[in-house]
Structures are given as C-alpha cells and as structure tokens.
Amino acid sequence: MKKARETFMHILFLIAACTSILAVVLICVFLFSGGVPAMLEIGVFKFLFGTIWKPGNNLYGIFPMIIGSLYVTAGAILFGVPLGLLAAVFMARFCPKTLYRILKPAIELMAGIPSVIYGFFALVVIVPWVKNTFGGRGQSILAAALLLGFMILPTIIEVTEAAIRAVPNSYYEGGLALGASHERSVFFALLPGARSGILAGIVLGIGRAIGETMAVMMIVGNQPRIPGSILEGCRTLTTNIVMEMGYAADLHKEALIATAVVLFVFILIINLSFSALKRRGK
C-alpha cells in the first residue's frame, strides 16, 4: 500500500517536471516552425539586415528593431548597472540593520511591480522630464533606457548582493589588517571575489531589459526606423511584435513570429553566458 503511494507520488512529480520542460520545448517548436519559413521566404539576410519595415509593401526588415533593442538595453545597462552595483555594495556592507529591514523588502517589492505600472510612471514622470530637459518629443530611447535602468535594479541588486555576501570575510579582514579603510577593503579586496557573481547579475539584467515589452512600448515612440539620436523614438523587437500582432495575417504574422525567434536567440545567448559565468564562479 505504502509502496503504491510512493510510486504514485513519484509519477506525479515526474509529470509536473515534464510539463514544465514540455512547455519550453513546445515554445521552441512553435517559434521555429512558425518563424523560420517566413525568414527563408523573406530571405534571412534581407530579414535581419533590411532597414525598412513596411508590411503593407511586403518589406520586412527588422534591423531597426534589432538596433532599437540594443540601444535601449545598452542604455539601461549604463544607468542600471552602476546604480545597482553600488546599491548592492551598500546593502551588503554599509547599511545599518534598521535601514536594511526597510530597503530589502522595498527592493523585493520593486521586482514585483507590474511593468505596466512602471510604464505609467515613466509616461507621467520620465517622458515629460526628458522632453523639458533635453528637448524632442520625450518618447525616446533615453526615456526607455532610464526606465529600464530602474526596472533591472532589483535583479542586479539581489544577485550582486548575494554574490558579495558569499565572498569569504577573510578577504575583507585581510584588507583591514594591511591598514586599508573599510571602503577600500570592501571595494578592492572583497568585490574582486564577487566578480563572476556580479557579472551574472548584469547578464540577468540584460536579459530582463531586452525582453521587457509593455513598459517600453508606452514610452519608446515605436517608430520602425533606425534612430538618429537617443532623443528620437525607436521600436524594439518586443514592441514590434505586440504592436502588430493583433491585426497581422499570413506572411506579416509569420514575420512577427520570426522577430520573436530573433529575440529568443538573444535571450538564449544571454542565458548561456549566465550559466557559464555561474559555473566559473564555483
């Protein structure tokens, strides 16, 4: 009787595990079977490096969107990484305990806020600020980069803080014992030990930034052309899909799926480098 129950539970867990793997496999199959034929029909080179996206004229070049995604993500890294890194160092090594009890849940909350709310916040605060300060229409790469910089903070802070806490305290003590100040010991003796963990946090942040859709769509302008400056709008891979999926049909629809394939490959590369970094850290 007990044996039968064990076997039953065993099978139940197995099914649960298989279901999640199956979901990933199905997504891959759906994406590639839907997207790759379209890519071939349009021509892989023309699709990836074509600079004009005009579905009405049968022109499907997603190069502007690739550039848009890269710009916005790079901008987010530029804002988010230094901020997140310093915040993590502060939380791990400088923060008084009482403040930590407020900061930590606040950052966890930040990770849980729906992206549409971030989008609204940006629309009301960041976009007008960019418009008034730098000119342009406000809905721009700069606005999206700033917002994404905020949005990846919780990811970067949490991974980096954990990495810093995992470094043996003996590095820090070694620094102090040589007459280094608290700050110098933390930044120059302790942080190098967390290098691979910090890089992993940054890579995860890149993954979040490049995949973000809703908030970006609300403030990035969505013009499908290669932007001339960071004050102009652009369109990212993700927003390209969402903007047009509702009414697209036939090759247009397949071209959007092919866009998702490109995005998927980006994410795949990012995740692979993340696990490579994690392995090296051990």
Binding site: P168, S170, Y171, E173, G174, G175, L176, A177, L178, G179, A180, S181, R184, F188, A189, P192, G193, R195
Partner: protein, 261 residues
C-alpha cells in the same frame, strides 16, 4: 619618527605595553586583567587551550576585535608608548602592526596585486617602486624564487604553504614594525610549517613577532618568550626555556606536559 624615538626612551624600548587589559564579548569576560610587556625583535608565543583568550589578545593588538559586535575593552595597550585605543588612527595602527591569519587569505587577484595592495593603499603608485617592493617582500618571505615567473598568475592557484608565505610577504610590503601571527601553520603540512617557522626566526631581526600557536613544540622551537593563558587569564609569562623546563605555576606545568588542553 621623532615622536616614536622619544617615547621609546620613556618606555624603555618595550614594543607593546599592555596594562590591566579586560575584554568582554557582551557579558562574556574573555580577557581578565592582562599585564604584559613585549620586547622588540623577539618572538613572543601565546599558548593555551582553545578558548583561553590568546587569539583575542592578539587581535586586540591591531584592533581587529573592533569588528566583533559587542566587544568592549578596558585598560591600556601602548605601542611605543602610544595608546592604540586613544587618538591613534586605526588604519595607521594596522599598517604598523601587520597580521597573518590562521587560514591563508590571499586576495582573489594576481600574486603581484596581492603584494601591491598594501603599498597602493598607503599611496604608492609608482610602478618601479611597486616592482621593487613586491620583489623585496617576496624575497624577505623566502618565496621569490618560487614565484618570480608567475607574478601575474592568480594567488589562489598556490599551495596552502605558498599562500601563507605570500600572506606574510603581503604583510611585510607595508613595512610594519610588528607582525601578529594567529596560528599561522595550523592549516599547513609539516614541510610548509617548518618553512614558516624558519621564516619567523629570520624575520625577528627586523620585526617584532607575536605568534599564537596550538603547537607547543613550535613555541618551544622558535619563540624567545612565552605567555601561557587559561580561561582568559595570563597564568605565566617568561623566557621560553624557563616556561618549558621549570614552569612556576602548576597549571602551566600541567598544560605543557599534556595533562589537559
């Protein structure tokens, strides 16, 4: 420098003068009324069973105990006549009083950068000067020949014994006056241990060395003075030869003959 020479005369050349030192971890009375003078250019060994306070005393000499929460100290510790718990800058204190830890703790960076960390901390940026310091420090720690061709390699790839000698070299690089060693050989094999012991004896001509050790043969082999601690009290302090041949206190005798501890 001038000031140090002056106080030297007043304090009759004792490197450390420890007076009525009491130390508490919270409610726990870890050191009880320690009075101890440490002479320069000697090796002083602290021995005693685990938890007797010998490491605690060592760490209070370069204020590493400041890191322990709830640690409270009363009494006096003078370095060349200056109160280290007074106005002295703690970073400068630790520059003068270097430390080698129980477990080798090279930084996760190259051998060169490990040695250069201290000098850079204290403002030396000249490459030629740093090169010179790195070489001299490694030579003083008798590890230059082993490492000179791999200075750019990570220090974490070295053996435990090499790492510990690297840590000694790193401590020497800031030109300390005193080197505290907290059971520096307890994590090492016998050959590495004997290298570190030889090194300590060599270094005492230029530095004052205070070593905590669990290994009584080690204390007997290399130290000039020995202090025996028990339950937070210093039971006996004197010439090493005398402590190990004719201890005055029966507790010391019981410990060194292996009846407890």
């Amino acid at each position: 420098m001038e000031k140090i020479e002056k106080t030297d005369m007043i304090e009759k050349k004792d490197k450390f003068t420890i007076g009525n030192l009491d130390l508490y971890y919270g409610d726990f009375h870890a050191l009880k009324g320690i009075n101890l003078n440490i002479r320069p250019n000697e090796i002083t060994a602290f021995i005693g069973p685990s938890g007797c306070g010998k490491s605690t005393l060592l760490k209070s000499l370069n204020r590493m105990n400041d890191l322990v929460e709830g640690c409270r100290i009363t009494g006096q510790v003078l370095l060349d006549g200056e109160d280290i718990y007074g106005d002295m800058n703690v970073n400068l204190l630790r520059k003068r009083v270097g430390m080698v830890f129980q477990k080798p703790n090279p930084f996760p960076m190259s051998i060169y950068d490990n040695i250069a960390f201290g000098p850079r901390t204290h403002g030396i940026t000249n490459k030629a000067k740093l090169d010179e310091i790195v070489e001299n420090s490694l030579r003083s720690a008798a590890i230059w020949d082993e490492l000179k061709d791999r200075l750019k390699k990570s220090a974490l790839g070295l053996s435990g014994g090499q790492q510990q000698r690297l840590c000694i070299a790193r401590a020497l690089a800031v030109e300390p006056e005193v080197i505290l060693m907290d059971e520096p050989t307890s994590a090492l094999d016998p050959i590495s241990t004997s290298k570190i012991e030889d090194l300590a004896v060599e270094l005492k001509d230029r530095y004052t060395i205070i070593m905590v050790t669990h290994n009584m043969q080690q204390a007997a082999r290399i130290s000039d003075k020995t202090a025996f601690f028990l339950l937070g009290e210093m039971v006996e302090f004197g010439e090493t030869d005398q402590i190990f041949s004719v201890p005055k206190d029966t507790r010391t005798e019981n410990y060194i003959t292996g009846r407890f501890g």
